[in-house]
Point group: C2
Chain length 296, copies 2
């Protein structure tokens, strides 16, 4: 007899922070018929109203504490800077069955918050991070295909319940994502390099240009190169400020590597050393090509 | 009686450097029926053979000097580092009627080359720069729509013949481009900021990542943010090394502005100053939004 997959289904999902990330998670689970009822919690009524209207959520709540009663799964999808406050608020109200997970871009600090603020519920907390996103934000930016074929990194701790990990894995797989388990420190080092650093670079570049005498003319003559390089400078400042500080040591290490490359390029430009620049640039070009081949 | 536009037509176009830029120029003019015969000059037989096969050019030549006889328009579309040698090679063979133009990303150094190496032909040299391109290169990357609605900046000098400027303007307009006249110094300052600096940044970022212990894993977990930020690191190293050195002073000034922004961000990260980072990042986000609105 063929083995029947037990149908994965969450009765009550609570999404705290109904933006691009939380909203897309809800939409993808709904699409997969893997969730019955979605409660959305948010700071602004306007965003929650939009989320209701777009059927991203079925019920809106302003207070996290009131939302989590009888929850099967709670997704914390707020900026990482707000995780501590949200965890402290929900901890006394979580039903024992509830599995809590997050979508934060940094893992060690979120785990430290959970250890401190979720208390006895910590074993049912599964730290996770979907490697997906756009520069858009808010419930109106959410779309159900955001996680299709994207990685979700889970970083369970020694105490984390296997059942809780399984539930969170199943939920992300129902969204079409590929779930990978990593050490939290490794996650933070990798993300500092491939995501947090590029964001700092994009913000700094746009600010440097905007401060020049005639930014209007400047931007007017820009091409696709700057548009792509600067795209992620459209990301929400509050969220990224929180991420940068939460992942400070890993980000500073990545920034130092980058600044040393930049200094080498600067020295070669100052010296008019075309050969040295050519070597550096060709090296980067080949590294990028190898990486693109691996991705496809 | 309605005014009849005199039909713009070039009998013989010589494209020196049949890559993305030169090849697309030829294809666009052919599409507009604005050129009768296109001679392509290149350093590799393979690229010229591809250009012939794809009908980017009608005739291939390995030596610039032999190609320019009876030319009406000569486009120099080689890397800027090769302009001096090419100009020196063609100068004795240019017919008096020939208008020479270029597509170099820097203008003051190309103008200085032309003054020195084109000699008496200098008044028929029109310095120009199409703000278009992709990270691809070679004749196979050329496509006739590359210049549609893109800016082409011309930077004629005091001596430049009005008729020569008119011919070059008409040719670019026939490609669908919008021609704008700028001072060469202003062109170089603007392009240093919006194009040359972003390239240096992208090359440095990819090199910094590629040097880390496990680049394969690192790139594997990267998302769309890094992919876009690093796209222009796929550009040809030789070409960009030449541009960076040719536009050294303007690029170093832009690099300094950028590094000072980066240092501010680093200090705020070190101090865990979320508020300062948030301000910086939001400022960049708003500047980018204003610029995108202006572009559309």
């Amino acid at each position: 007899m063929p083995r029947m997959a037990s149908r994965f289904r969450i009765n009550k999902l609570v999404v705290i922070g109904v933006g691009l990330i939380g909203g897309s998670f809800a939409l993808a689970l709904k699409r997969a018929r893997a969730v019955k009822h979605v409660v959305g919690v948010g700071r602004t009524r306007r965003n929650l109203a939009a989320a209701l209207k777009l059927k991203v959520i079925d019920e809106a709540q302003e207070h996290p504490a009131r939302a989590v009663g009888d929850a099967d799964l709670v997704l914390l999808a707020t900026p990482v800077g707000q995780m501590a406050a949200v965890m402290a608020a929900i901890a006394p109200h979580l039903p024992p069955k509830a599995v809590v997970t997050d979508a934060g871009s940094t893992k060690r600090d979120v785990i430290a918050c959970a250890r401190r603020f979720l208390g006895g519920h910590f074993p049912r907390f599964v730290p996770a991070h979907p490697i997906a996103g756009t520069e858009m934000s808010g419930a109106t930016a959410a779309f159900r295909e955001l996680y299709r074929d994207r990685y979700v990194i889970v970083t369970p701790q020694r105490e984390t319940s296997a059942g809780a990990v399984k539930l969170v894995r199943s939920a992300w797989e129902a969204c079409g994502a590929r779930v990978v388990q990593l050490d939290a420190r490794e996650h933070d080092a990798i993300l500092a390099a491939v995501s947090h650093l590029p964001h700092v670079i994009a913000f700094a570049l746009v600010n440097a240009l905007a401060r020049r005498p005639n930014p209007k003319r400047l931007f007017g003559f820009s091409g696709r190169g700057l548009r792509d390089t600067a795209r992620i400078a459209g990301s929400p400042g509050e969220m990224w400020a929180g991420i940068c500080v939460a992942n400070r040591d890993a980000l500073l290490a990545a920034l130092q590597d980058y600044e040393s490359e930049l200094e080498q390029a600067r020295a070669a430009i100052e010296n008019g050393d075309v050969e040295a620049l050519k070597l550096m640039f060709e090296q980067a070009r080949r590294a990028r090509e190898k990486w693109l081949v691996k991705k496809n």
